[in-house]
């Protein structure tokens, strides 16, 4: 090493040697993170990169030269010239013994435990110990089904007392709702006095739980973790656009979990966002509807074309409503069609919910894509202008994307009297209910696309599951409408729409579409702990 003329390290970095490999890391990095850089995965339960350090599980002990005793690598800050050994006899034995110790009172629950297959305890035991227990005393029993709050159940026997969940409540949600009581092998997790686990970020405790102690009432006993497929996506619950993974199986989403993105959501997401997958199965529009009766694409498009061709002769008689609930591609396609029709363009979305906003991840704007709609159609008018047009009888055909059309009762009544309301809807509700023609389109988890979050960040979503029935991607429905009215739009895949869109919208210039991500089977992902 001495004969290489390496430049002196920058003053804000330190170089440490881990298992004989030198690695340079920023000052203040702990040994555990430094080891990750050289591919040494130090086992740990209580350490979580998004939380403060507790160093209470003692699973990450390593030998550091010139230190008489083993040190917790999560708490040891890497210093210049530090030499760390993780595979020597001493730390290997410590890991084995800690695992044996941790398992002393662990119940034999794997076959009925929701965490099985993605359990850190299973993973670490199999990788680092795999030996039989030497203890034959009866296990300490604790409450098996302890209701901690509206969303979470605790199995106290499975808990290995890592306190990650307590720190999630304290540091992510900012509410002290969980505590440990008692000591030794009677130590137990419980709610803080007068509290229950009901903060808006409570389900993150389930994600960080290294074992199956905390389980989500929404997910527990529905699916085995290792049978699920994971597809990366973006939460469509609000304007924050938390990065998520859709966990799905057999064409059905079973849960949403946060995906690490330090620039947007870190490791976390809110509970409300997690439950948005339920909407994917509720009251979906699976086939075209004409005049309230089930129809086919051909008939529906023919009916739409008849109404539109008549109205298009009169400039301004067709109104197009973009949706902040839909993806950039769908909005761009419809805006493009509106331009070809010379139609008036409006934009809408769900009304804001000021009460849910906080300074963390939750935004008052519950639309995933307002920023995108504004970027695509800056000149789009709001619905007040549409109401006027409808009330005066000028607007005769309205083409609506999505199922949000918050207009006054008068305008609502008038909408029934105009020539046609054509709705491109994911769900059979709102304007789709009494539309002249409703065309089924795919929801966010069913088609590749993108949304733009409150910071203007363009984020890609991937298709996780199939759209119901005859539903097609929104932009594809727009292409069909265009063809029916003699407008030439020739996109055949979302990627083509993206190409035209990024060329047309200045802030998104040269943004790459990226690779299509196929679902990853969680069984191949190993433990996610």
């Amino acid at each position: 090493m001495s004969d290489t003329q390496a430049p002196p390290p920058a003053p804000d970095t330190v170089t440490v040697t881990i298992d004989g490999v030198a690695v340079t890391v920023p000052k203040g990095t702990n040994v555990l993170e430094a080891a990750k850089k050289v591919g040494v995965d130090i086992s740990a339960f209580c350490y979580h990169p998004g939380l403060s350090i507790a160093a209470c599980c003692r699973q990450c002990l390593v030998s550091i030269e010139k230190n008489p005793k083993l040190q917790p690598s999560c708490q040891s800050i890497a210093t210049e010239g530090m030499v760390v050994h993780t595979k020597d006899a001493q730390s290997t034995l410590a890991r084995k013994q800690m695992l044996e110790f941790t398992l002393v009172n662990h119940p034999i629950d794997c076959p009925i435990c929701d965490k099985a297959g993605e359990c850190t305890l299973q993973k670490l035991y199999f990788e680092h110990d795999a030996a039989d227990s030497r203890v034959d005393t009866p296990k300490v029993h604790k409450p098996k089904v302890k209701d901690l709050g509206p969303n979470i159940v605790l199995d106290a026997e499975r808990c290995i007392l890592c306190t990650r969940c307590i720190r999630v409540c304290d540091e992510v949600a900012g509410e002290h709702q969980l505590e440990m009581i008692n000591r030794g092998d009677h130590e137990e997790l419980t709610t803080a006095p007068g509290q229950q686990l009901d903060n808006p970020y409570s389900l993150n405790t389930v994600d960080v739980c290294p074992v199956g102690a905390l389980t989500s009432k929404d997910f527990r006993f529905t699916m085995r973790a290792w049978e699920l497929d994971a597809t990366p996506s973006v939460c469509n619950g609000c304007a924050t656009g938390c990065n998520i993974e859709v966990h799905h199986k057999n064409g059905r989403a079973w849960r949403l979990v946060p995906r690490l993105n330090p620039a947007v959501n870190g490791h976390w997401m809110c509970d409300e966002g997690r439950f948005t997958y339920h909407e994917l199965r509720e009251a979906r529009l699976a086939g075209p509807v004409v005049g309230g009766l089930p129809s086919s694409w051909d008939k529906a498009l023919k009916a739409a074309a008849d109404k539109l061709t008549a109205a298009l002769k009169d400039p301004g008689a067709v109104a197009v409503v973009l949706s902040a609930q839909a993806s950039n591609e769908d909005n761009f396609a419809l805006a493009k069609l509106a331009a070809a029709w010379k139609a008036q363009v409006f934009a809408t979305g769900r009304p804001a919910v000021p009460g849910r906003a906080d300074d963390k991840l939750r935004d008052a704007d519950v639309n995933p894509n307002w920023a995108g709609v504004k970027a695509i159609a800056a000149a789009a008018q709001d619905l007040a202008a549409l109401e006027t047009g409808v009330n005066t009888g000028k607007v005769r055909v309205v083409v609506v994307l999505g199922h949000d059309l918050p207009v006054s009762a008068t305008a609502h009544g008038r909408l029934r009297e105009i020539d046609a309301v054509i709705v491109l809807a994911t769900h059979d509700r709102g304007p789709a209910k009494d539309a002249t023609i409703a065309l089924p389109i795919a929801a966010w988890a069913e088609t590749p696309g993108s949304v733009t979050n409150r910071d203007g960040r363009l984020q890609r979503m991937h298709a996780a599951i199939a759209a119901p029935g005859q539903a097609v991607a929104g932009w594809e429905a727009v292409v069909r409408l265009a063809q029916a009215t003699g407008v030439k739009l020739a996109w055949t895949q979302a990627r083509d729409v993206w190409k035209d869109m990024t060329a047309a919208v200045a802030p998104w210039k040269d943004q790459p579409w990226g690779r299509e991500v196929r679902p990853m089977q969680l069984r191949f992902a190993g433990s996610r702990g």
Partner: protein, 413 residues
């Protein structure tokens, strides 16, 4: 009527057919297989014939392709065993052992297996080799018209299948061997039954050999047919009985000894001419040698466990899995994630029923192979078939194919 007496129906060989000019003839293309009673497994040969003489034989396997290699990438190392059963399905135990040995080599535990496990593996392998050769010889004789030897041999094979069923629970698809040993010990009294059966089979062999070895029809149709010389065998990568019939003294058990074969005494029979008759004689002798190995192995069979005592490799006993969390997790991880095999790649091979059976496995540190490849002897042997059958008569395809002993499951992988 008088004219008929002057007609001489002489014996014509292929050369005669070539020079015969009186009758105008043209080449004809006929299909043999894919479903033909004399085709082993499902394989198609498109024969271009000039009368009875084969001008060109286009051998087209692939009708039994099961994606063994690709499937293996999606199965844990243990879950691949049932797939190996279906390679050479008349000697599944040897395939099992070959796969297990490859993974053990990757894990570095080849030398740590319990001795009883090694002996049990050798015993079941040799029983499987006998069933393989019994099937091959019996079926080939039957295709040449000798139905009795076929029935006799199949009777013997059934005795052995019954014994293997007692060991593994399945008559044909045993999935008996595991990484680190075998799944369960031999049943009590099994070895005695085996020895008794071996004696009975020896008696049957005498009868069958008496029926075939000096049988004029059998010899006429086997001798000098489909010969491959020693050099051709090397060039074509032939192994097993085909190579040995040509005088190539190659047997993995002797040349690259594995398991406890070095502790057992046996001879490797070789032929001289490399034709179908020698291939038949080599197989008959190998059955006798396998019985010799079996008698020794049974006599030397040590007591002890049949599974390695390494928690990373061996499944915990069921009682432990139900009653301790440690074994429960191990059981769970073994089943769901598979045995963790360190990253690396290796090739391990055994003497299969048909020749060198090898597995090349690339491991990436997970519980499933990153890539698995099988060197299946039938596939290599079949590559020579078009060349061998050229210039033979259509009827010769039957003994040639019988003695190549193409096993569809193994050839098509």
């Amino acid at each position: 009527m008088a004219d008929l007496k002057t007609l001489v129906v002489g014996r014509k060989d292929a050369v005669d057919l070539d020079v015969e000019q009186e009758l105008p003839h043209e080449l004809m293309t006929v299909n043999m297989g894919p479903s033909h009673p004399a085709m082993h497994g499902t394989v198609r040969i498109v024969l271009t014939v000039d009368g009875e003489r084969i001008v060109k034989g286009d051998v087209q396997p692939g009708y039994l392709h099961r994606c063994f290699e690709k499937e293996s990438e999606y199965a844990t190392y243990t879950q691949v065993f049932p797939y190996t059963d279906r390679l050479n399905y008349v000697s599944p135990m040897i395939n099992n052992v070959g796969w297990a040995m490859t993974i053990e080599k990757l894990l570095g535990i080849t030398k740590q297996l319990p001795r009883r496990a090694e002996y049990v593996r050798v015993i079941v392998s040799e029983v499987s080799r006998i069933t393989d050769h019994l099937t091959c010889v019996g079926a080939s004789a039957m295709e040449l018209g000798a139905f009795t030897p076929f029935l006799y041999f199949l009777k013997c094979r059934e005795w052995l299948y019954t014994l293997l069923e007692e060991v593994s629970g399945a008559r044909l698809t045993h999935s008996y061997v595991r990484v680190g040993g075998v799944s369960k010990d031999l049943p009590v009294g099994w070895t005695d039954k085996l020895l008794a059966r071996l004696d009975e089979i020896t008696a049957v062999m005498v009868e069958v050999e008496a029926m075939l070895n000096q049988n004029k029809i059998f010899r006429d149709r086997m001798a000098g047919i489909g010969a491959l010389d020693r050099e051709a065998c090397i060039k074509w990568g032939q192994t097993g009985p085909i190579a040995r019939a040509a005088g190539l003294d190659y047997d993995v058990r002797k040349d690259y000894p594995y398991s406890v074969y070095p502790e057992l005494e046996f001879d490797v029979p070789v032929g001289t001419t490399g034709d179908c008759l020698d291939r038949y004689l080599v197989r008959i002798e190998e059955i006798k040698q396998s019985m010799r190995i079996l008698r020794q192995a049974v006599a030397q069979l040590p007591d002890g466990p049949v599974m390695i005592d390494d928690p990373r490799v061996a499944l915990p006993p069921k009682t432990d899995a139900y009653n301790t969390i440690e074994s429960m997790i191990r059981h769970f991880k073994h089943i769901v994630d598979g045995i963790r095999v360190p990253a690396g790649e290796t090739y391990a091979f055994v003497e299969g029923g048909n020749g060198e059976l090898g597995f090349y496995v690339v491991a990436d540190g997970t519980g499933r192979p990153y890539k698995a490849y099988v060197r299946s002897p039938s596939f290599v042997h079949l590559s020579t078939a078009s060349t061998i059958i050229k210039d033979h008569l259509i009827a010769d395809v039957v003994p040639i194919f019988g003695m190549i002993n193409m096993i569809g499951g193994e050839c098509d992988k």
